[in-house]
């Protein structure tokens, strides 16, 4: 990566996104917090979940063959997450909530690493 970013997607997750986009059209993510299936990324048809001033747009996932997928997080939650880089991955499983992938027997999952000093500097500018 020559440009710092906050969020990426694995090849497996991108493949699942393409399949979901075929069925549901353009997509979005909102990162959840809290109980049960919280702390997981929720995938919805674009615009299904209303975002606003209380949210931060972390970036757009570029997946070949489909429109960019914006990734959002609540602003207060971002205050605790802002030092980490997120990669949206997928594992076998069954999330509840209204995330679109649940019926496929897969669940999107966040993998995290610390942002480097260089990345943090680049993201601030």
């Amino acid at each position: 990566m020559d440009v710092a970013n906050r969020v990426e997607v694995t090849g497996m997750a991108a493949e699942l996104l393409r399949r979901l986009a075929d069925e549901h059209g353009p997509l979005m993510f909102h990162q959840s917090g809290g109980c049960c299936d919280g702390s997981s990324p929720m995938c919805y048809p674009a615009g299904e979940f209303l975002t606003g001033d209380s949210d931060v747009h972390l970036g757009d996932l570029g997946v070949a063959g489909m429109e960019p997928v914006p990734v959002w997080m609540a602003r207060d939650q971002f205050a605790y997450w802002s030092h980490t880089h997120l990669t949206i991955d997928v594992v076998p499983g069954r999330g509840s909530g209204f995330s679109l992938e649940a019926p496929t027997g897969n669940r999107f999952l966040i993998r995290s690493r610390l942002l480097t000093d260089e990345e943090l500097k680049a993201l601030r500018t």
Binding site: F49, P92, G93
Partner: protein, 507 residues
């Protein structure tokens, strides 16, 4: 010690059918689109029952049934509704072991918890609401000498309830009992990770509830949960889960102008003041047990005491004893009454916990014990087991700020009372908290200063009916477990009555 046979084996107290249809209008009803999904037990990872994969058409059918039943149920005498609740409680009590084993097989929790907590609490919950229903009174306000305001409680009508997977039967009952007591009909959707034990319960109590009063529709959130939560035909939505889905449900409710109650989790602090270690007595032992409560239900509790804050002057010795206590937790076959920690409820839950253990380590937290998946061997090899895990770190780390929903506690030290309160409140959530001290003043001052809906004081993880439970901050809206819950399922009818024979003289 008893080891129960798994459902499907001869000698097991519980036995599942090969598939569950939906429970609608007092009948087992096949899903309109004909689809089913496999439900695995987290104990072994093997599928054991097929579950209806419902769609909007099934939700509509359930709403039709509920709306047909609602006028008559809402007019039922309180004594009769209370009797129905009491009969359900009695039936559950007669089948307690069977229900506990069914719950374990669906959810993965240790059977001793299901036997001692989930089922007894669920049974008592029906009895509690049967009782407070009989005692509920409206009010009368004297406006002036000739005018009086009567306040009647009336049911909302048909309500939607979306249930989490951590205590499938108990969480369903927390919502069902007050809704039914208040005179509502219900369309309930269990979690797709644990859809079976609620159907087991419905099968057991089906003859006790008038058709259409309780309808249970299974399926995936996006296919069945959304049509239910967004339906203009429900008068209220009750949800337990996480924040993004909670917001989405509020968004749908705003479009229909209906109320919601939400329970959305937490990151509960468990605070140990230095005086707990003043003597190596029973109270000190109780406090150590309070620390180890993070492992209850494999940590899959919204109020898991997942942040332990220990006063600096006792930090090393208390944490040393707490480590020893944690290492003595017996992990094993959930159907063995000697087992203290069972399986995580699903594979994705297991993966999420492991990903948090990764980020905890990456952020520099020190792993003191656990931190790994456990292979219990034999048939249990395919189950989802995680060792009880203790991290030491700082409250700014993500493992201190996010609900992992696993048997993971993050430990930090504090110096003075004010530090403890400030760390405890440095969280997006405010559902539960624990305070441990021998000093009465410290206990009350801390309890009032912590921004959480429930502060356990010298105890933890007790959930008796008649003690209000619910969240501050991002942890939700509304209170369960208390007669005030009746208000969340009723609306107020005011009759403003004049008995003056005289005109006002305006016109």
């Amino acid at each position: 010690m008893t080891v129960y046979q798994p459902p499907g084996n001869s000698g097991s107290p519980a036995s599942f059918p090969s598939r569950y249809e939906n429970w609608i209008g007092g009948e087992w009803t096949a899903p309109a689109a004909g689809g089913y999904f496999e439900n695995p037990t987290p104990v072994t990872g093997q599928a054991f029952v097929d579950i209806a994969r419902s769609t909007a058409a099934d939700v509509e059918l359930a709403l039709d049934a509920a709306h047909s039943a609602a006028p008559a149920w809402g007019r039922t005498a309180p004594a009769e509704r209370a009797s129905v609740l009491n009969r359900i409680a009695d039936r559950m009590e007669q089948h307690l072991t069977e229900l506990a084993v069914a719950e374990v097989w669906d959810n993965g929790k240790p059977v001793r918890e299901a036997l001692a907590a989930d089922l007894p609490l669920a049974i008592d919950h029906f009895r509690y609401f049967a009782g407070v229903l009989r005692g509920q009174e409206g009010s009368i306000s004297q406006i002036d000498e000739d005018t009086v305001a009567y306040h009647f409680q009336e049911p909302l009508g048909v309500v939607a309830q979306i249930i989490p997977w951590n205590f499938p039967i108990l969480m369903a009952v927390w919502k069902l009992a007050p809704a039914l007591a208040a005179g509502n009909c219900v369309v309930l959707k269990p979690a797709e990770q644990t859809p079976a034990s609620i159907m087991y319960l419905m099968d057991l109590i089906q003859d006790l509830i008038p058709p259409g009063v309780v309808n249970v529709v299974n399926g995936f959130g996006t296919e069945a949960g959304k049509p239910l939560a967004s339906s203009p035909r429900v008068a209220k939505v009750a949800f337990t889960g996480e924040t993004t889905t909670g917001r989405l449900i509020m968004q749908y409710a705003s479009q229909n102008i209906v109320p919601v109650t939400l329970e959305l989790g937490g990151k509960s602090p468990n605070i140990f003041f230095a005086d707990v270690a003043a003597a190596p007595d029973e109270f000190y032992d109780k406090a150590l047990e309070g620390f180890a409560m993070f492992a209850l239900n494999q940590g899959e509790v919204c109020t898991c005491p997942s942040r332990a804050l220990i006063q600096a002057s006792i930090y090393d010795s208390f944490l040393g004893d707490a480590l020893e206590r944690t290492r003595s937790i017996q992990q094993g076959n959930p159907l063995d009454t000697g087992t203290m920690i069972g399986a995580q409820a699903s594979n994705d839950q297991l993966e999420k916990i492991l990903s948090y253990i990764d980020i905890g380590t990456a952020e520099g937290a020190k792993l003191l014990t656990g931190g790994e998946r456990v292979d219990l061997g034999g048939a249990l090899s395919g189950g989802y087991y995680v060792a009880p895990t203790i991290f030491e770190g700082d409250n700014s780390m993500r493992i201190f700020q996010e609900e992992i929903f696993g048997p993971v506690v993050s430990v930090a030290r504090f110096d003075q009372f004010d530090d403890a309160v400030s760390i405890a409140n440095d969280s997006l959530y405010g559902l539960g908290a624990g305070v441990w001290t021998r000093d009465m003043n410290t206990a009350f001052r801390a309890g009032r200063a912590i921004q959480a809906g429930r502060v356990w004081t010298n105890c933890y993880h007790a959930y008796p009916a008649h003690a209000a439970f619910g969240g501050y901050k991002n942890s939700g809206i509304g209170r369960e477990n208390h007669k005030m819950m009746l208000d969340h399922y009723q609306q107020t009818k005011n009759l403003l009555v004049s008995y003056s024979p005289n005109a006002l003289g305006f016109f």
